[in-house]
Structure formats: structure tokens, C-alpha cells
Point group: C2
Chain length 543, copies 2
């Protein structure tokens, strides 16, 4: 990958817009959403960043693939949470790791763990560095230092089993890297989180990432056949199986373990042939509540669309999908072999019955047709993958932009949504003077939606993180009080830990601690992430 | 339930056939399968059974719902594994628990755990007592005694949420008991294991039971919204959520915990409206290999039939579905609201393309039609639920009848099936002089089937358990060597433990032990089941 990544903001460095473009963005923001931005500020330069002296030296046996170079340390300091981008934009990389390891073989991962375990050095597994929950940041308190263990050198598809439709993939492969290799055999994993271009299989597994499919196969969990994970105390490798009923699942311990129980090095994943048939439609609703009813009915119908994303009117406007005040439901079915007309029609019938309108009509595509991206669905898709870039630009304009997401049962959603709308609106006005909040459903289940909220507000230079922490706390407390999860697919990391500790049953947290003690007796793995009071660990800064 | 259950064999006592019927069964067996049976022996009588004196007395605070009565102890000695039925038929109840608790409130469950924990008494959670893996039998070695904790008094549907389609159900409710209560609100759980009439929700959850749906929602796991489980060291109650990405799932720790980590007392389960549309067909294949190919193609199609069970020629004959040497694939779709014609036709097209024949034609039923059970599918269904009764009759005729089941990836199935056919055939001949082996697929996945094997053989009176242990070891070793799981949905219990310990990654077994130590520090819960070397526990007899 010759194209340089931003060291402080989202994605490719060359996608950060120039001053004039950002000025124009500020204007659109003021006109469109009533959010006042500041003048565009200049992004930081690598050569201006100052880091503390590394607390550890590269040991000779790791010298081939480890470094204490400043740029590598800077690039492994943060994920891409709002607070990470704000600090990065300021040039503040105070919690940079002391050393970066870039293993190209599993034995090298093992060697790092052994050395770190012996020497009291914390190890933070690092994939794409796109965590939005403080998942890869550790100040190393209680340890001799911190090594960031970047898995991206382990990026191969090692085996493909075309009969069972599964592939053995190394954890460091990013979305495009693994898809390119799978394509050779005509397969695809079809896991497309917003971070797809940069994030890695290992990161997806460790954080229970949410992906492409809006129903049934929503989390990466559902594609796992087996996982290989190295811990200081041994290797956990599950048997390759389509399913098993032999005790609690070992894979389910690795899924969501956030680098705190082991380093995932590879997994057998279920893959699919590329879809050749597609059927899509977008449905507009005047009324959000009716749209929610329609989505519930479709989620409970057993039709299981691949795409079933509801955008409220704000979200539709923000992403320029429609601007007439409608909520928009984007429906899609896909298959390698089957005509889907019938299923789309059944889903559309449900939506139209509940006052939806489908002005563009359904679109069907077979194997002969060009795959295009026209209409509302296409507009949504391009906005979706560019969303995080927008956030980095907004930070440079002094505008706070962040998201939070959850899941709850259908019976609880109306009260949750009302409370969030009211309380986030109130805190944005109080703390920032103004604000914008939008909602979409990223995934839906028969028993509830996974709502995803975006908020924008004018921020105070230098005071953003305090402002943000206040807003984040209101959002998280509201989720907590309304029986929703603190995260549907962004993981716990350090940012969500205070609420996770309220939500997870206390004896289960004790089990997690016991599991960590068993796998990682010295607590060197990602201290402070996920697991409370792990040896030597403590939560990172929350503001 | 006034109708009496057999104390030694499967199900209702009055369904055990008389001598003449059993003689006729023996004749059919000899003619049909070439298996020679003995003369029907008389089943044991309750009043002939002798038990050791209870090692513990009922403490006054538990006296309202605990007993040391002989019949209660006999009825809680075993599950319904082959070895259980053989010992029961012999009148051997040597490992009877010392006391039986029949709580009607959760506080009483709590009280039993507290008392047992204080007094060094082992607690074996007991649902329907239908375990086929030695899941509910403990001799209490290392403990002052054993109490069987029968949850069937906690059998209420406590809440129904019709919006989210979920219900809060107590763990002791059997299939019919919970279905009758759900039906009041028009819902059904649609979990129909072979033990449906007798087994309980808590048992299904603790053993990761396999149910009605052949695809997607195969295990009870997939219907769980949240679980409430009491352990000596605290209560684990997960939040009611359609999905979450916050750390490893607490529900997935309870699922498959087999009473060794806690006592499941209730769960919020996803429910469904009763299906009103059905579409079914049965497809015959001359060649089993082609049938397997067809099932694989359907499993990988995304059509997700509710029913997709393949019977090999032996299984079809054994269950009198067809007797012409064909393998039979039973396909079914069901929905509350949707026409399914299209989907059945798509699935049938795949099967016919691979040399299947559908002489009876597809059957569609809408809301107006009577739900019948004609044809191969109906024949199969009635044989399915009566299968375990047959086993008890065969034991009385000196015929060994048992099953084992597994799952593996598609690429491994042909070699596994060949090895099992050859090696089970060989060991049946060597140990019993003759034998019969049949195979069906109970559930199928895009990446592999869950094959289920039945074997029959003439047994030696008094030597059955040694013979059986030899055969079981050959079966289990073959699964082990061919990369298959030791169990897809029968759990580990005590019978599968030696192979489970080979299959589960060693550091994961250490995590399970650490989890047990955290939740159940004195190891009183179901010692010897699932978890190796738990405090005071050891495996039960295997022969």
C-alpha cells in the first residue's frame, strides 16, 4: 500500500480536503444544519510531533521486526475515536507506545508475547487502528513500557475449501487485501463495515464487528468456523466445525475479547460466492414511527433481506439521500444463484401497506446486468464509506462530530429514541449552544433494531474533549436507563468501560477476570480494555 | 401430568408395549434388519428396587420441597442414555441421589445451593431427565451426598412481549407446558427436539439442544435473548437484547454449561407466530452421494428451509418412510405470513437437477387448509417422536440400540461417513456378531452437515455395557480422527468427556475450570459433567 495513511485522521492522507473545500463544507453545514463552524485550521505535521523517550529498547531477538522509530510510534498511538482525532489534530501523542512490532510470522507474535511477559511490558494488539472506543491506546501504567503489536504483516489467505465454502485467513488482512485473495477462487467474505478499507479480520473478530448484512448474519461472529488465538499461557485453536454443541463455545470467548485475552492470529471463515442476482428498492415514509413499524414487520417476516437500513429524515438529509423530510428505508436482497424478485416484492408489499412509497420502483439485476449504484441506495453507499473522512474535516473546522450505536428490543425503542432525541438535544444546546442528531438502523432483528446515532455540534477549541465527554455520558446513561446495550458493534474498549461494567452481570465480569488470569497471568494484554481491574491496567482517559 | 412416566425407560409408562407386541417387534427386526433378538424380558418393578440409605437428611429449612423418598430418588438417578436404560431395566439404581429437591420458587433454588455449598453436598440440576450423555448422574464421590435439583416446578411463562416477539419463560417448563402457555398469545417457540414432550427449556439451554429448524436457527442458542442463572457465587442475568457487541457474550457462557457453572432458572426467548403457510416435498435419490450433494447445494443456496433432513436408505427403511433402497430428502418451508411456493420450487429445482425424484409432488398449505401429516414427511415425523420408545422395547429384547451425532465440514464428510460405516460395521460384527447402522442429517449448514447415526445389534445379557462401551469408543475415536465434533446437540455430560477433553483446546479447558472456580468455588454443581477435574468431581462410569 504505497498510498499514505493520515497519521492523525481517517484513512488516506490525500483525501483530507484543502482549505477552500473545507471552507465550503463549513458553509454547507451552516446553511443545511444550522451548525456554525470555525475557520479551517491547518492539520499537524509529523515533524512537529514530540514524543517521550521510549521506556524500553528493542531486544536483539526481536530486532528484525520491531522498532522504536517516532513515526511508527505516532501511527500506533490512537484508534479513530472522536477524542483520538481531536488529540491527533492537536499533535498530542502523549500516550504513544514505546515500541512497535510488525511480525510477519506467527512465531514472531509468540516471541513478542514471551519477551513482554518476562519483562513486564504491556502488549496492545493492533489491526487497522480504526477503533472508535479507545481499543488500542494504553499509557502502560504499571508496566515497564508498551509495545503495539501490529498484525498487518500477517495478511494471507492460507487455504480455501471450495466444497465447504470456507477460507483460512490471517488476522492482519484488511478488507480489500482478503477480498482480493478470496476473489481468485470466486469467493467473498461480504463483511463490509464502514472501516472496511483499513480494518482487519483480527480486529473484526476481537471487536465483534457488524457488517454488510442487515439481518441474520449481522456480526462477524456468524461467519466464524474456527479461531486461532495466542495467549501468554497457551494457544487456543478451535476445531473447524460448521456447528457444535460441546460445551460453551471457545470461539465465543475469543469473539469480543478485544486483545485482552489473547492475540487472534488466524481464523477459518465462511465465505460466499459473489452475488449475481440483486433486487433493491428504497421506500420513503412521511412518518418515522410508521417506517419503524414497517422495518419491524419486515424483520419479523423471515424474508431476511441483506439490506434493511432505515434512515430518519435527518440522516437522509445529512447523507443527501433525500431532502424532503422523508425517512428512507433501503431494502436489498442478493444471491449467487437465485432470482429474488418474489422476496423483494413480498418485503415491498409489507412496507407499502404501512404507508411507504416507492417512487423509483424496485430494481432487479441479474448476472448479465451491470452493477450500478444509482438512486437512493447508491447515494447512501458512497456517503457511508466517506462518513469518517467528513468527521476528520469537521474536527479541523472546530465542529464536533461523533456517533454512538446500540441495540434494544422493539418494545423499548420508542421510549429510548424519544429520550435520546430530547436529552441529546438538550445537552448539545447546553454544552455547545446548538446541535444536530440523526438516527439510522444499521441492523435489524426479529426482536429489535440496532439504532445508530450521529451528532454534530459547534465545539470550543481546546474544550472539545470536556464537551464531548459530557455529551457521551448523557448518551450512554440514556442507553443504560432504557435497557439498551452500550454497543452493538463498536466494542467496549476503554471509552465504554464504565457503562459496560454496569451492564455486564458482576459474576460474569469475575469470570472474565478469571479467564484473563488463566490465559494472561501477568495481565500484559491490552491492559485497561474491556476487562475491569485487570492486573496493571486501568481505564484510559475519557476526556 | 397425571399420566405416569416410566421410571427406567423412555417416556410414558403405558407406552411400553406388552409381551406379544414386543415378540412381534423382535420378529420384524429379524426379518427386516437381520438382527436376532432375545425373548422379551419383564421390566423391573418399583417395589423391587433397593437403594442405599440416604447419606444426608432433609434440613428443616428445605423440608417443604425436598424429599428422600425412594421413588423420587429412583426417578432422578439417570437420564435416558442407552447405559441408563440398561441399568434401569436391570433394576440397578446404585447411584441414586440422596435427596430430591422440587422447588417451586427461585428462592428455593437459591436456598438449596446455599445449604449444599455450606455442607459439601453436590447438586445435580435436573430438567426432563432425558440426557443421553450421562448429564444428570453423579455418585457424589468427594461430597457428603448428592441432591437432584428438579426444576420442573418452575414452569411458567412469566411475561410475553408481543411487540418484540419474546417471552420470559421459567427453566422447568417442558415443551408442551411452555407451548400451551405461549399459544394463549398466539406464539410458539418452535423448538421440537426428539425429547420435546419431556425435556425442559433449562435443559435445552444447558445442553445447547438442537431443534426443529434444519437451517439457520438450529440450536436453542439462536432463540435466546437473555438468561438468568444462579451460581453459588452470584446471579448472572444478562440484559434483554436482540444483539450486542459488548465483550464476549454472557449468554454463550451459560449455553452449554450443563449445570456445572450455575442453575438456569429462566430466560427471555424469541418466539414466533404459528406458521400458517407450509410447503413440503420429499425427494428420493438412488444414490446417497448425490443426495448429499443436493443437500449441500440447498444448504449453500440461502433458501434456508425449515426442514432439510436427509435419510439414508437404511434410515428410510428403519422408519418405514420408503423401503425401496432410496435415500430420502424431506424439504419443508413454513411461514406465518408468506407464500412459500417460490422457495420450495427453487429448492426442488436444485434437488431434481442432482438426480432427485419427487414422485408425490410438492404439497402447499395455506391458512385455510387442514394441517395433515401425509406422505414420507408425516411417516418420518411420527417415527421420529416414537424412536426413543423403540429403544426401551429393544433393551427388553436384548437388542442394543443407540445413536450418536456430530457435525463436520462438507469436505470431510465423505471420508468420515466411509470410516464410520466400515469401522462401526466391523466393531458391531466383532463385538455383537451382527449389526445395523443408519445415517440421517438432522441439521445442515453452508459449511457442513450434522449427521446422526443409529446402530442396532444383538446384545449379550449382562454384557451390554461392555459391548456398548467398545462400540461407542470406536464411533467417538473415528469422529475425533476425522475432525468432527463429539456432539452437535447431545452435549458432553459424562459419556463424551474423554473425547471432549481431546477436542477442546487445553487453555480453553483451563478457562472453563477458572470460570467454575469463580462461580462455584466448592465445585458442588454437577461434578464430573463437562468440566474436567472439577473440585470433588470425576467422570461417571462409562461401561
Amino acid at each position: 500500500m504505497a498510498r499514505a495513511l493520515s497519521f492523525w485522521g481517517w484513512g488516506y492522507a490525500d483525501k483530507f480536503p484543502g482549505r477552500a473545500q473545507r471552507l465550503a463544507l463549513g458553509g454547507r453545514l451552516r446553511l443545511g444544519l444550522g451548525i456554525r463552524s470555525g475557520l479551517p485550521r491547518r492539520p499537524p505535521r509529523l515533524d512537529q510531533i514530540e514524543l517521550r523517550t521510549p521506556r524500553i529498547e528493542v531486544p536483539s531477538q526481536l530486532a528484525d521486526f520491531c522498532t522504536t522509530r517516532k513515526e511508527a510510534r505516532i501511527r500506533h498511538t490512537y484508534g479513530r475515536a472522536y477524542r483520538d482525532i481531536v488529540r491527533g489534530f492537536r499533535g498530542d501523542f502523549g500516550s504513544a507506545p514505546d515500541m512497535v512490532a510488525l511480525p510477519r510470522k506467527e512465531e514472531q507474535v509468540q516471541a513478542v508475547l514471551e519477551w513482554a511477559d518476562q519483562h513486564g511490558v504491556a502488549v496492545v494488539p493492533f489491526g487497522g487502528g480504526t477503533s472508535v472506543v479507545g481499543g488500542v491506546e494504553s499509557d502502560g501504567a504499571g508496566f515497564r513500557g508498551v509495545v503495539s503489536l501490529d498484525l498487518k504483516g500477517l495478511d494471507q489467505v492460507l487455504e480455501v475449501d471450495p466444497i465447504s465454502r470456507a477460507a483460512r485467513i490471517q488476522a492482519g488482512a484488511t478488507g480489500p487485501v482478503l477480498e482480493a485473495q478470496l476473489a481468485i477462487d470466486g469467493f467473498t467474505l461480504r463483511h463490509f463495515p464502514q472501516s472496511f478499507e483499513f480494518s482487519t479480520l483480527g480486529g473484526w473478530l476481537a471487536t465483534r464487528a457488524g457488517g454488510h448484512f442487515a439481518t441474520v448474519y449481522t456480526h462477524i461472529d456468524d461467519f466464524v468456523e474456527s479461531i486461532r488465538m495466542i495467549a501468554p499461557n497457551g494457544l487456543i485453536e478451535s476445531r473447524r466445525l460448521p456447528a457444535s454443541g460441546a460445551g460453551p463455545s471457545p470461539d465465543r470467548l475469543a469473539l469480543g475479547s478485544e486483545g485482552a485475552l489473547g492475540v487472534i492470529t488466524e481464523a477459518w471463515m465462511r465465505v460466499l460466492p459473489r452475488p449475481r442476482y440483486r433486487a433493491k428498492a428504497s421506500v420513503r415514509f412521511k412518518d418515522f414511527e410508521r417506517a419503524v413499524e414497517a422495518v419491524r414487520a419486515i424483520a419479523q417476516s423471515g424474508l431476511n433481506p441483506a439490506n434493511c437500513r432505515l434512515l430518519d429524515a435527518h440522516e437522509a438529509r445529512l447523507n443527501q439521500v433525500v431532502t424532503d423530510g422523508s425517512s428512507v428505508l433501503i431494502l436489498g436482497f442478493e444471491s449467487a444463484d437465485l432470482e429474488l424478485k418474489d422476496r423483494l416484492e413480498q418485503a415491498l408489499a409489507i412496507a407499502l401497506e404501512l404507508d411507504g412509497q416507492c417512487p423509483e420502483g424496485p430494481v432487479h439485476r441479474g448476472p448479465q446486468d451491470e452493477v450500478g449504484s444509482a438512486g437512493a441506495a447508491g447515494a447512501w453507499r458512497s456517503a457511508f464509506f466517506d462518513g469518517p473522512y467528513l468527521q476528520s474535516s469537521l474536527v479541523s473546522l472546530g465542529v464536533m462530530a461523533d456517533t454512538f450505536e446500540t441495540a434494544c428490543t422493539w418494545d423499548r425503542f420508542p421510549a429510548l429514541h424519544e429520550a435520546l432525541t430530547q436529552r441529546i438535544g438538550e445537552v448539545l444546546r447546553r454544552v455547545c449552544g446548538a446541535g444536530f442528531l440523526s438516527c439510522r438502523f444499521t441492523h435489524v432483528y426479529p426482536d429489535g433494531p440496532a439504532p445508530y446515532y450521529t451528532f454534530l455540534a459547534p465545539a470550543k477549541w481546546g474544550g472539545e474533549l470536556q464537551q464531548w465527554a459530557e455529551i457521551k455520558a448523557v448518551a450512554s446513561n440514556t442507553l443504560q436507563e432504557h435497557g439498551a446495550t452500550i454497543t452493538h458493534h463498536h466494542a467496549v474498549g476503554r471509552i465504554h468501560r464504565p457503562w459496560y461494567e454496569q451492564q455486564a452481570p458482576a459474576p460474569f465480569l469475575d469470570v472474565l477476570k478469571a479467564a484473563k488470569k488463566s490465559l494472561d497471568p501477568n495481565g500484559i494484554l491490552n491492559p485497561g480494555a474491556l476487562i475491569p481491574e485487570s492486573a496493571g491496567g486501568r481505564p484510559g482517559p475519557t476526556g
